[in-house]
Symmetry: C2
Subunit: 218 residues, 2 copies
């Protein structure tokens, strides 16, 4: 067993004893754990992982802004999605700064099969369920990212990257919970859980076929 | 003559004697001044102006993030565009907060003929000139926004909105200068000026047909 990582001091919070992977996983809505072999691969190809990670942060910031644009009448969603976008832009800049300092290339746009397949499951034009689906999609993106970061933390000892992921993992956890809570505001609890179950199973099926590239969702 | 507005104290800076419209206009690359009648219209329909303004901030934040995604190998552009996006997301949140507090609706996506026509002028797939065009487009969006905010400041006395626009006008000025500087990094000064001249004339032709709706670029 790898002991929990002690997070270094940093600007985003006090040092905290990090939870173990198993503890984190137990609180996430995922139905398929990423194999440790993925983390070993990503740890051995950290420049590629980080370049992909930067793009993920950029994409989720854009997704947050898009959500705000889709639902201008939903003041709570607009403010939450904009705050999320603001946070993700800063994460993007933080990852880019690490890449730049190390002379590692930023990757730019690339195919994220997992995210594309998941997003394609949103049924458009069926409000109010399209909004619910968009939020459940967001919840799963954040949950899986949190899980992957936690998995990778078991395998790396690069202090700067440990620090980064130890900050961002909890942020992703907050975000999936926020998306799920927003999805449930006007939806019966059981209906929401059933709908989310469909999403969770679909995501797990996708995840079972992955784990073979060093990308965040690869 | 309307005297320069005294900007109230605020979190974004020290109180400053604002420049007059004529002073601001003289430093912008625009070839057609917005008529005062537009500002009178926008001032009389402030809820619509602000709702549109919020969407402009959201759109330009997304544009900044897109730029970073298009040019991952250009570290300076990535960091500048991401910093711009971070700033515009905060402007978006600030405008949304004013709308929400007042019970004024946020507008959501709408047709911005000026921006669409301008953006359609970017010739894709002709690097390195496509990048130059994308930056010159950004420069004109920021310059025109700065000009419109300054024009509107002459006509309104709502302290909160005066404060907002008095902060954001100078930010837009910084942004157009930044876009133009980035466009000129690898381009001969005369070539750049000539190319920008084409953009400026095109924009002025668009602007001549506008000024009849309370939108930021309407």
């Amino acid at each position: 067993m790898i002991p929990p990582v002690k997070r270094p001091d940093g600007p985003e919070g006090q040092p905290t004893e990090l939870k173990s992977y198993d503890e984190v996983y137990a609180e996430l809505p995922l139905l398929h754990p990423t194999p440790r072999s993925w983390a070993e691969l990503a740890a051995s190809r950290l420049p590629e992982f980080l370049a992909d990670h930067a793009v993920c942060e950029q994409q989720v910031a854009m997704y947050g802004l898009s959500l705000a644009g889709y639902y201008p009448d939903d003041a709570e969603l607009v403010e939450r999605a904009a705050a999320l976008a603001a946070e993700e832009v800063q994460h993007f800049r933080r990852v880019v700064a690490i890449l730049t300092k190390r002379g590692w290339p930023l990757g730019g746009r690339r195919k994220n099969v997992w995210a594309q397949s998941l997003r394609a499951r949103i049924v458009l034009g069926r409000e109010p369920m399209t909004k619910v689906d968009r939020l459940l999609f967001g919840a799963l993106v954040e949950a899986r990212s949190c899980e992957r970061f936690t998995r990778l933390l078991e395998e790396i000892d690069d202090p700067e990257v440990v620090h980064l992921l130890a900050d961002l993992g909890p942020a992703e956890r907050r975000h999936w919970e926020m998306f799920y809570r927003l999805a449930g505001r006007n939806t019966d609890e059981q209906v929401l859980a059933a709908r989310f179950q469909g999403w969770r199973e679909f995501e797990a099926d996708l995840a079972r076929g992955l784990g073979t590239s060093p990308a965040v969702h690869g």
